[in-house]
């Protein structure tokens, strides 16, 4: 009995000591923070306490929302982006919505997710509400049809570029297993029309089994 009590006292002492150390080490994040690059000599202030936003604030990086600057910044790595798309495609719901939630969550937590989901949902919400009111006029309008037809080619350009870049990365890795898996998945989804969720689940099982 005495043994147990002494152990309990010992533990409580240890834990007390630990909290003391902790409280000494905890810094209040409301205070000003500073950061610098390894080779820099002086620190600069970080008002947002978020690497990207602070770098943007000091104009150390270019505005990612302008032109193609986001490609140089790589806020989200290509590999990570593919993982996020995999999660988005295998979860229920619209893929665009799922992926936008994931990106928002990655960039700014729950608040970020809320912002990106509003951004994804609002344009269709507004467009469809307007269109559904006088949709027969819209459907038979020649100019609307022509613009939409032209846009199909534009969308084809973007997706062609994305796919070719990603496929070349996989081919360059020279892992025959990966290349084979890519070809098989394409055949399954495109020729045999297997549901994408099933393709992804099968791939996950292969990943678990693989040594």
């Amino acid at each position: 009995m005495r043994f147990f009590i002494s152990i309990i006292i010992l533990f409580s002492l240890i834990s007390c000591e630990k909290t003391e150390i902790d409280s000494a080490q905890i810094k209040n994040l409301n205070e000003a923070c500073f950061f610098k690059q390894q080779k820099d000599t002086s620190f600069i202030e970080a008002p947002y306490k978020n690497v990207h936003r602070d770098l943007l604030f000091h104009e150390k990086i270019e505005d990612p929302y302008f032109s193609n600057n986001e490609e140089n910044l790589k806020w989200i790595e290509e590999k990570e982006m593919l993982d996020l798309i995999a999660i988005g495609q295998s979860s229920p719901g619209a893929i665009a919505v799922n992926t936008s939630i994931l990106i928002g969550y990655r960039m700014g937590g729950l608040k970020g997710a809320f912002v990106t989901i509003s951004g994804t949902v609002l344009p269709p919400l507004i467009i469809i509400t307007i269109v559904s009111m006088f949709y027969s006029v819209f459907r038979d309008n020649r100019i609307v049809n022509a613009v939409l037809k032209g846009m199909q080619a534009g969308v084809a350009v973007i997706i062609f570029d994305v796919v070719s870049t990603m496929a070349i990365t996989i081919l360059r890795s020279k892992k025959i297993f990966m290349v084979l898996l890519m070809i098989l998945a394409f055949l399954a989804a495109y020729i045999f029309k297997v549901n994408v969720a099933i393709v992804i689940i099968v791939a996950m099982i292969i990943g678990v089994i693989r040594k």
Binding site: Q89, P124, V147, L148, A197
Partner: protein, 183 residues
């Protein structure tokens, strides 16, 4: 009461439409046309036309369309929120676990295997989009049926996209403008 019913129906659509895009259509048809009789089969066909003509995910377009028909603008908002609620909950939970465990060896291995598969899946979407752009409703694969105007816009846009490093939204607007002028 009506709004609650709309909300719950679209939660179902959001929850069970796995695979995205046209894979969700049979389910939408079953819930909206056969179960609740909110829209007729003819309206459902109109809905598909609109949904595929306008930008945005089909499930969202469908929920807005039906929501507007049933309860005006509030109906549209309720339906859309219902449709995205399940995604929100499930995806954020998955994202949480992804960032917590993505450095574990076994999880890494699974994610690594998934990457080429995802590229392939995006590729299938790309091939479908390109064949619709080049062949429209005609039989796909015949060289003489190819729409030369679409091919021209495609090549032109691809070159300015690569050379000028233009941003994607700009490319889509330009291609829309060219389409409006030529067709």
């Amino acid at each position: 009461m009506m709004y609650i019913k709309i909300f719950l129906s679209f939660v179902q659509i959001g929850l069970f439409s796995i695979g995205g895009g046209y894979a969700a259509l049979p389910l939408i048809e079953q819930i909206l046309v056969n179960q609740n009789h909110w829209i007729t089969m003819g309206q459902f066909t109109d809905l598909i036309t609109i949904a595929s003509m306008t930008p945005g995910p089909i499930a969202i377009n469908a929920s807005t369309f039906v929501g507007t028909k049933l309860g005006g603008i509030p109906g549209a908002i309720v339906a859309t929120i219902g449709c995205v609620t399940p995604s929100c909950i499930i995806v954020i939970t998955l994202a949480h676990f992804y960032y917590k465990y993505k450095n574990l060896k076994s999880v890494k291995k699974v994610l690594e295997t998934l990457r080429p598969v995802v590229v392939a899946l995006i590729g299938t979407a790309g091939v479908s989009i390109m064949s619709v752009a080049f062949w429209g409703n005609k039989e796909i694969g015949k060289l003489k049926d190819i729409n030369l105007t679409a091919l021209g816009i495609f090549l032109f846009c691809y070159i300015i996209f690569k050379k000028r490093k233009m941003n994607p939204i700009g490319i889509i607007i330009i291609s829309g403008l060219i389409g409006g002028i030529i067709y």
